[in-house]
Point group: C2
Chain length 337, copies 2
DNA sequence: TTGAAAGCGCTAACAC
DNA sequence: GTGTTAGCGCTTTCAA
């Protein structure tokens, strides 16, 4: 069975292919009746547009590439749902890939996106990505790139973030207010803005409470389940244990907490704990985990809107450097002494 | 800056575009030296192939469409990582979308995939999808479709599954062996094979233990967090409470358990609980949740392998109806009396 | 092993 | 408001 083309439709109606092409779109100068006839016949013949021919000619794909570290978090899936929501409304679709926190895979993915000539790119960086070389190709070709959550620091690219410094500060301050004097920070790779800023916020709060910063109380890891468990074990072996823990994500906080609880440590009495992200898991662990809410869906929407507005010429992304969404401290049992 | 095409390469080497095209692929009849020259120059000039032109001509996209209910589970993200692994090795990439459990969105997504002429489709059904009309277009055009986890029942399409009946049977039997006499089943929509079979397994185990099936002990829901909490509340209000619960997924099991624990019910002493999926959350809740392991990564790999083998003519998918992967009962504290 | 020619299906530019 | 013309960049014949 042969594919139906605009020429078949044209022949049926005794008009030109160009008119058909226009009728199938929202071309300004087309007779409404002609348009209706075209659309009707198209449906009747089972026509489907050939995106390759279209893209080849028009140099637009109506596809937005997405590169994220992982898909399996509440945050990410919410963010992607937000992007899809906006994208679908505007006739775009998403080409999604995960870097699994590997820069190599991130580069590969970026390459694939580039080869597939996505109209724009939305990315959140792998934890150890150093430079933006693999995104330069896009910039050079004027393909807009927007980052969310994990963005480049010193870069004029557009980014959607929350105020991680403020959030980190608030978490730490809350622990201090609960009477903690010796707060440990389970940090992520500080190459990434999100983790660097949370650490900065932690330091700022300590300073405000006149507690000297103790480097040995900062443990950097990939914040995985295993890392959380290991941090717990590390703490159990410490001579002088902390009385508070601020972990840079909920997963790590929770698994650290489980390890401590198993060893008989009381939470929050002996050690108060707080995480980051408001992952559903934070309400499963007992006591429930104090954390920071994270507007994933909104971030996704904001990123996609910003990109698509730019693509359709409604606004210029380049004038926007950072969009900061609000987040807030959620106090639960794990830190309330 | 203009795009580099095969003609530019051809001009540089004084050969034809056809030869360049061949040199860039694994064409059998091409001189090795010529090929090397072509590849070298291509790199030097920064050539990137235009997939549209290529697809337009060759009618292949090297893209596999993926439609899943949700992305944010350990299982799904593992499955997708498995697919990506296989796909990337074979030079395919994935167009991923989530139906968010809505048939309407699933249909939309299928439509998008079709329009974008994916070479093949891998799908897991939304919970209330009734018929396969939206997949027929693919079948008609000879675009292979493969389902995993949530598949159509009476259908000759290829599917990758686990033996849900056996798993449901084993969970229930385990609870019975622990002395449970009155086991409640928190079921998913039984329109979906996975939930229907788990229910069947539950029934089979009861029968084996000569316990009459009591319809009022089966609560059907979407198995969400809220549904779990509601199930817990429902149980608390029951005159004659169950002494065991088999939930069709871990999320629902966990939130049900939390509700019961909060009300002072002892788990497993008063009520033993088991879930399904081995989601990381099952090891967070206290006591840890008994569950069924679920080979997400392997399922993804199997689905992609099967599809790509078919696409490349290495095998014929149509001769394969179902591929069943193994799963197993993981016994933890929530059910060990 | 290489090349010439044709055309995949569409849309931009221009003309009427 | 519609049509003509040309060509996007590639691969597939077919021929040499």
């Amino acid at each position: 069975m042969k594919e139906v083309t605009i020429y078949d439709i044209a022949k049926h109606l005794n008009i030109s292919a160009t008119t058909v092409s226009r009728g199938l779109k929202d071309h300004p100068s087309i007779n409404k009746k002609t348009k209706k006839k075209i659309v009707d016949i198209a449906k009747e013949l089972g026509y489907r547009s050939n995106t390759f021919a279209s893209s080849l000619r028009s140099k637009r794909t109506h596809t937005i590439g997405i590169i994220v570290p992982r898909l399996n978090s509440h945050f990410m899936s919410a963010a992607i749902a937000g992007m899809e929501n906006v994208a679908n409304e505007e006739g775009y679709h998403l080409l999604i890939s995960q870097s699994l926190e590997s820069t190599k895979k991130e580069i590969d993915n970026a390459h694939t996106m580039f080869t597939n000539r996505v109209d724009g790119l939305i990315a959140s960086l792998a934890s150890d990505t150093e430079n933006n070389a693999h995104f330069e190709a896009f910039v050079n070709k004027n393909v807009p790139v927007i980052f969310f959550d994990r963005v480049f620091d010193n870069d004029q690219s557009t980014g959607i973030v929350i105020d991680n410094l403020k959030a980190g500060y608030e978490v730490t301050k809350h622990l201090l207010q609960q009477g903690c004097k010796r707060i440990m920070h389970l940090a992520g790779n500080t190459r990434r803005n999100v983790y660097e800023e949370r650490l900065k916020g932690y330091k700022r709060a300590l300073k405000e409470y006149h507690i000297p910063f103790d480097e040995s109380l900062v443990q950097t890891s990939n914040l995985s389940e295993q890392a959380g468990t290991q941090a717990g074990e590390y703490i159990l072996n410490m001579q002088h244990r902390p009385d508070g823990i601020f972990a840079a994500n909920d997963i790590c906080a929770v698994f650290c907490m489980l390890t401590l609880l198993k060893a008989g440590i009381r939470v929050p009495q002996d050690i108060a704990i707080a995480g980051f992200n408001n992952d559903p898991i934070s309400q499963v662990v007992q006591p429930n985990l104090t954390t920071i809410s994270y507007p994933g869906y909104e971030m996704g929407k904001a990123a996609a809107s910003c990109l698509i507005d730019h693509l359709s010429g409604r606004s210029d992304m380049k004038t926007t450097n950072k969009i900061i969404l609000s987040s807030e401290l959620i106090i639960r049992g794990s830190s309330l002494k």
